[in-house]
């Protein structure tokens, strides 16, 4: 008995470390395009753990974006189940879904999707308003978040007065507004040049390391590889293969060696 105890502790520790935050079970999605059925997803099983930085890679049309939307509770699967924090998303009513999106998930989009009529600060505080924070609390927290992404000075600027990179920074701050468990980034660097793209990736990694938030990003930007803990390749609506960080390092150095 005394011999097994340390093992059990070790197992428990490992389990605690690898707590699942998002789990999908045979997720399928079929679109009807005219007469033709398009199978965007053909049964995806996936577990995403708390605190990891996961990238979903794949060419356009691979079902990557569809899978991403499922994971984020933005779309419902035709078949199969998606669990976010062990809650079946399909079982949630509109109120609970809004609550989930508000508190548990932060979204970052390729096209930033800031509200054009609001200032940077107002954009960041909007999710806090939805969460029921008072104006004062929201303003303080919003300023703090903008400071973290390096835009404290520009809080009163409207999105069209900010560069693409700055807009995406505001979006990152907004995603973190309600201290979510998961940040979902859909092609966050897709509309950015190489340098600002790298900055956004670094910012996301920093947030991931500092506050332990799980980052899931759909991308075909290979700059993402070096910061990801795990990379999932999606092909033809299925998971093609998964690479861990250790394997990736080897691959990256190998490529560089060539």
């Amino acid at each position: 008995m005394t011999e097994t105890a340390p093992d059990e502790v070790a197992v428990q520790e490992q389990e605690a470390e690898k707590r699942t935050v998002v789990r999908t079970q045979q997720v399928k999605k079929t679109y009807l395009m005219g007469e033709i059925e398009v199978h965007a997803l053909r049964g995806v099983d996936m577990e995403i753990y708390t605190g990891e930085y996961l990238s979903i890679m794949g060419p356009s049309g691979s079902g990557k974006s569809t899978f991403f939307n499922m994971v984020g509770g933005l779309d419902k699967p035709s078949e199969g189940k998606v669990y976010i924090d062990e809650v079946d998303v399909a079982q949630l009513d509109a109120y609970e879904l809004a609550w989930l999106r508000c508190r548990k998930i932060g979204y970052i989009f390729q096209s930033f999707n800031l509200i054009p009529v609001m200032t940077a600060l107002e954009n960041v505080t909007l999710p806090m308003v939805f969460a029921g924070l008072t104006s004062d609390e929201a303003r303080d927290k919003g300023m703090e978040l903008l400071g973290k992404v390096g835009l404290g000075e520009r809080h009163s600027h409207k999105p069209n007065e900010l560069s693409g990179g700055q807009q995406q920074r505001v979006a990152v701050a907004r995603a973190l507004a309600n201290d979510p468990a998961v940040v979902l980034a859909d092609e966050p660097t897709g509309n950015l040049d190489l340098r600002t793209g790298t900055e956004i990736i670094e910012l996301l990694k920093e947030m991931n390391e500092n506050s332990g938030v799980t980052v899931i990003s759909a991308t075909h930007d290979h700059k993402m590889l070096s910061v990801s803990d795990r990379v999932v390749w999606v092909k033809d609506g299925q998971v093609d293969h998964v690479r861990n960080r250790e394997d990736l390092d080897i691959e990256v150095t190998h490529v560089e060696g060539e």
Partner: protein
Amino acid sequence: MSERRLAGGREIVLPMSKAVEISFRSLKIRFGRSLITTSGVILAIAFLMSVWSNNEIISSLRNADKSEINLLLQKNGIETGVTEAGDASAEAKARMEEEQSKQTWLISLSLLVCVVGIANAMLMSVTERFREIGTMKCLGALDTFIVKLFLLESTFQGLAGTSAGIVIGFALTLGLALLDYGGYTFTYFPVSGIAESAGYALVVGTLLSLIGAMLPAYRAAKMEPVEAMRSDT
């Protein structure tokens, strides 16, 4: 499971003051755009109001039954000499009835123009913001929250547009009446009738703006966020 989690969080309620603030500012910032939308409402209501108030002024003048006014009315092709007492010839009565039905037709037509104009303007203003609605849903806005915002916004817009339309429509009619009938317009000014017309126009304009905006906003709020964001482009 979800209930347990939900119990942990505070209930999400959108304070009214915040909603008013957001929707009001949204109108102010989009001033140019909302002016174009509102102008649809203004024109429709101005038309409605001018038809109504013109009716009121003329019937008031006719009821006065003064020979010099009747002369002016007849010059403008309006049947006179028929009062409620009704000692007119059958021919005059028939013409009177014909005119009545023409008036009814004109009013229905103006109402129709109003409905189409306002509904179109409000539909456009909401449809072009589907992406925004989708984004708000992603950020955790409740459907009711979104509907509330648009409800307020379209009410403000409808009220402002309708009021402006009433003033413009009335001013135009008054100007024309003054040209035709001079001072008599004021002597027999149908205050209560005009006020009543203005009241109706206000209700019609505001209600139509509301309905025109509510339907697309409600549809957008019910959509899955991805759908709402996709349909924009």
